[in-house]
C-alpha cells in the first residue's frame, strides 16, 4: 500500500506522456496535410513545368526552385523541389503584399507532391543558358 501513491503518479505521468505523443503525431500529420494541400494548389496553378511562363530559378543547398510569371510579375508562382523531386515549398506571390507560403521543408519525407527532378534540372540549365 505504501507504493500505491507513487505508482498512481507514475501511471498518470505515463498516460499523460502517451496522450501527448498521440497529439504530437496527429498535429504533425495535420500540418503536413495542410501544407501539402497548399503546395498541390500552387502546383496546379503552374500547369506544365516547362510552361512558357517559366521565368526564373533559384538554387539553394536543400532544394532548387522554379518561378513562373503571371500578369507581369516574374516571381508570381514558385515551386521548390528537393533532390528526389519532392515539392517541399510553394509560394503564390500574385498578391505581392500578402504572399501565400506553403512549406514542408523541415520534413521533406512528408511531402506528397512530386515532379520529375530530371526535368527540373533540365529547365534550370535552360534558364541558366538563356540571355
Amino acid at each position: 500500500m505504501r507504493w500505491a501513491g507513487p505508482l498512481v503518479v507514475v501511471a498518470a505521468a505515463l498516460i499523460a506522456l502517451g496522450a501527448l505523443v498521440l497529439v504530437g503525431r496527429s498535429e504533425g500529420r495535420r500540418h503536413a496535410r495542410e501544407e501539402n494541400r497548399g503546395i498541390a494548389q500552387i502546383r496546379a496553378l503552374v500547369g506544365p513545368l516547362d510552361s512558357p511562363s517559366l521565368d526564373r530559378y533559384r538554387l539553394l543547398t536543400d532544394f532548387s526552385c522554379l518561378l513562373y510569371r503571371r500578369n507581369g510579375n516574374a516571381f508570381a508562382l514558385e515551386l521548390c523541389i528537393d533532390a528526389e523531386g519532392r515539392v517541399v515549398e510553394a509560394i503564390d506571390r500574385r498578391d505581392r503584399r500578402h504572399p501565400r507560403i506553403f512549406s514542408i521543408r523541415e520534413d521533406h519525407s512528408a511531402a506528397t507532391v512530386r515532379v520529375d527532378r530530371a526535368e527540373v534540372d533540365r529547365l534550370i540549365r535552360k534558364l541558366e543558358e538563356s540571355p
Partner: protein, 448 residues
C-alpha cells in the same frame, strides 16, 4: 586525507568546466580550425563532467539531499524533450540533443547534491565558469591579432562594424560574457588581496568592453539585469544599495552611448546600381528567399530601440507554432523549423528562447519550462534569504546569473540549447540554487 581527495575532485571539476566553456566557444567559432576542434569534443566533455560530478557526489555521500520542485520539473522537462523524438521532424537530432540536456541536468544535480552546505565548493565551481568566460574573451583578442576579418564583422548598410572575437557572430560570445559579469562582480567583492582585486576589476572592464564592442544590446541588458540583482541583494542599507544600482545604470547608459558611436555604411543610391539592362534569371541574386517578407528595397538602419527584425520573426514563429500548438515540432528542431524570410533579420532561429521552446515543444513545453524557471526563481529568493556569509554570497551570485539568463532569453534562442556556449553558465549555477535554498532554510532555522 579526505580533505585532499575532496580538493582533487573539486580541482578536476574546475578543469573540466573551464575545458567545457572553452570547447563550446570553439564549437561556436568563426574560425574553422577552432570550430572543428570544438565540435569534436563538446559532448564528450559534457559526459566527462557528468561522470566526475557523479563520482564526487557518490564520494561525498551527502546525508541530506535537497529535493523539491526544481528537480522534479527539470526531470519532467527532460522527459518531455526525450519523448518529443516520437513526433519530431528530426527524431535522431531530437534524441541526441535531449540526451545532452539530460547529461547536463544530471551533472548540475550531482554538483548541487555534492556541494550542499559547502559554499567554498560552490565558489570553486562558479570561479571556474568565470575563468572559462574570461579565457574565451581573451581568445577573442587573439583572433583580432591573427585575423581582423574574422574577429570583426564588417560594416554594412544595416550595421556598423561589430566585434565578434572568437564567436560566429557578434552576439555569440557577448552572451557568455553577459552571464559572467555578475560572477565577476561577486568574485571582486569577495577578494581580499589587492592584486586579485585589480586583476578582477580589469577582467570585468574587459568583459564590458568586449560586449560594447560587439554592439550586442541584448547582452548589455542581460549583464545589467545580473549586476542589478547582485547589487540589490547586497547586505547593505537600502540607500547604499540604491546608489550602487544607480552606478550600474550609469555604466549601462555610458555603454549604450559608446555603442551608438560607430556608423553603418551609407546606403547606395538606387541610380548607382543601374547599368546595362540584363535579366538576372537566378532569383536568389535579386529576390532572396531570406528577404521575402518586409523588404521595401530601402536598407534598414539599426536603431537603439529597434528589434533588428526580431519583432517580425517572433510574430512569424508564433504563427508557425500555432500550426502544431500543443506538442510542437520536436526538441532541438528550432533551426530546422524556423525559416528566416524577413528583410533585415539575419538568423536561423527566432532569437527568443521562450518562443523557441514553444516551437519545439508547444504549449505543454512552454508551461513546463516556465514552471521550471519560476521554481528556480523561488529557490533563488529562498537562497538569498540566508544569513550573511559565504553561503549567501554564492546564492546571490547564482541568482544574479539566473536573472541575466532569463532576460537574455528574451533576445537570444539559447536557454535549452546544450551545445550553446552559455548553457553550462546558465544551468549549473541555476541548479545549485535549490541546494543553497535548502541550506539557507536550515541556517535560518538554527538561527531562531
Amino acid at each position: 586525507m579526505a580533505e585532499r581527495i575532496d580538493g582533487l575532485y573539486v580541482r578536476a571539476i574546475q578543469l573540466v568546466l573551464v575545458a567545457i566553456v572553452l570547447n563550446l566557444a570553439f564549437a561556436s567559432s568563426i574560425n574553422n580550425s577552432f570550430l572543428l576542434l570544438g565540435r569534436h569534443f563538446r559532448f564528450g566533455l559534457l559526459l566527462e563532467l557528468a561522470v566526475v560530478s557523479g563520482a564526487y557526489q557518490t564520494w561525498r555521500r551527502p546525508r541530506a539531499r535537497p529535493a523539491g520542485a526544481v528537480f522534479l520539473l527539470a526531470g519532467v522537462f527532460v522527459a518531455l524533450t526525450m519523448v518529443s523524438a516520437l513526433w519530431s521532424v528530426d527524431p535522431h537530432h531530437t534524441e541526441t540533443r535531449a540526451g545532452a540536456l539530460l547529461v547536463l541536468i544530471l551533472a548540475g544535480a550531482a554538483l548541487a547534491d555534492a556541494t550542499v552546505g559547502r559554499p567554498e565548493a560552490v565558489r570553486a565551481i562558479l570561479a571556474a565558469l568565470f575563468v572559462g568566460a574570461v579565457l574565451v574573451a581573451l581568445l577573442g583578442l587573439y583572433m583580432l591579432w591573427v585575423s581582423h576579418d574574422q574577429a570583426v564583422q564588417a560594416a554594412s548598410t544595416q550595421y556598423p562594424a561589430r566585434y565578434r572575437g572568437l564567436g560566429q557572430n557578434p552576439n555569440t560570445v557577448s552572451l557568455l560574457l553577459a552571464l559572467a559579469t555578475p560572477l565577476g562582480l561577486w568574485l571582486w567583492s569577495e577578494t581580499g588581496s589587492l592584486v586579485r582585486r585589480i586583476a578582477l576589476a580589469a577582467a570585468l572592464l574587459f568583459l564590458d568592453g568586449s560586449i560594447v564592442a560587439s554592439g550586442s544590446r541584448g547582452a548589455l541588458i542581460g549583464a545589467l539585469a545580473g549586476a542589478v540583482v547582485w547589487l540589490a541583494t547586497a547586505s547593505l542599507s537600502w540607500p547604499r544599495r540604491l546608489v550602487f544600482v544607480a552606478a550600474a545604470a550609469v555604466v549601462f547608459v555610458a555603454d549604450v552611448a559608446i555603442m551608438q558611436v560607430p556608423n553603418a555604411l551609407p546606403a547606395v543610391p538606387s541610380s548607382a546600381q543601374s547599368g546595362t539592362h540584363r535579366v538576372v534569371r537566378n532569383a536568389e541574386l535579386t529576390n532572396p528567399l531570406s528577404d521575402e517578407i518586409g523588404g521595401s528595397g530601402v536598407p534598414i538602419k539599426r536603431t537603439l530601440f529597434g528589434t533588428s527584425g526580431r519583432a517580425q520573426a517572433w510574430d512569424a514563429a508564433l504563427h508557425q507554432a500555432a500550426r502544431r500548438p500543443v506538442a510542437g515540432y520536436g526538441f532541438a528542431t528550432e533551426s530546422e523549423v524556423f525559416v528566416d524570410r524577413y528583410f533585415g533579420f539575419d538568423s536561423s532561429v527566432p532569437e527568443n528562447s521562450y518562443i523557441g521552446v514553444l516551437l519545439q515543444l508547444g504549449v505543454v513545453g512552454v508551461v513546463v519550462f516556465v514552471a521550471l524557471l519560476l521554481a528556480l526563481v523561488v529557490a533563488a529568493f529562498r537562497a538569498v534569504r540566508a544569513p550573511p556569509g559565504p553561503g549567501r554570497a554564492v546564492a546571490r551570485a547564482c541568482a544574479s546569473v539566473l536573472a541575466a539568463a532569463a532576460v537574455l532569453g528574451l533576445t537570444q534562442s539559447y536557454l535549452t540549447t546544450v551545445g550553446n556556449l552559455a548553457s553550462p553558465l546558465v544551468w549549473l549555477p541555476a541548479l545549485l540554487l535549490p541546494a543553497l535554498a535548502w541550506q539557507a532554510q536550515r541556517e535560518r532555522g538554527q538561527g531562531h
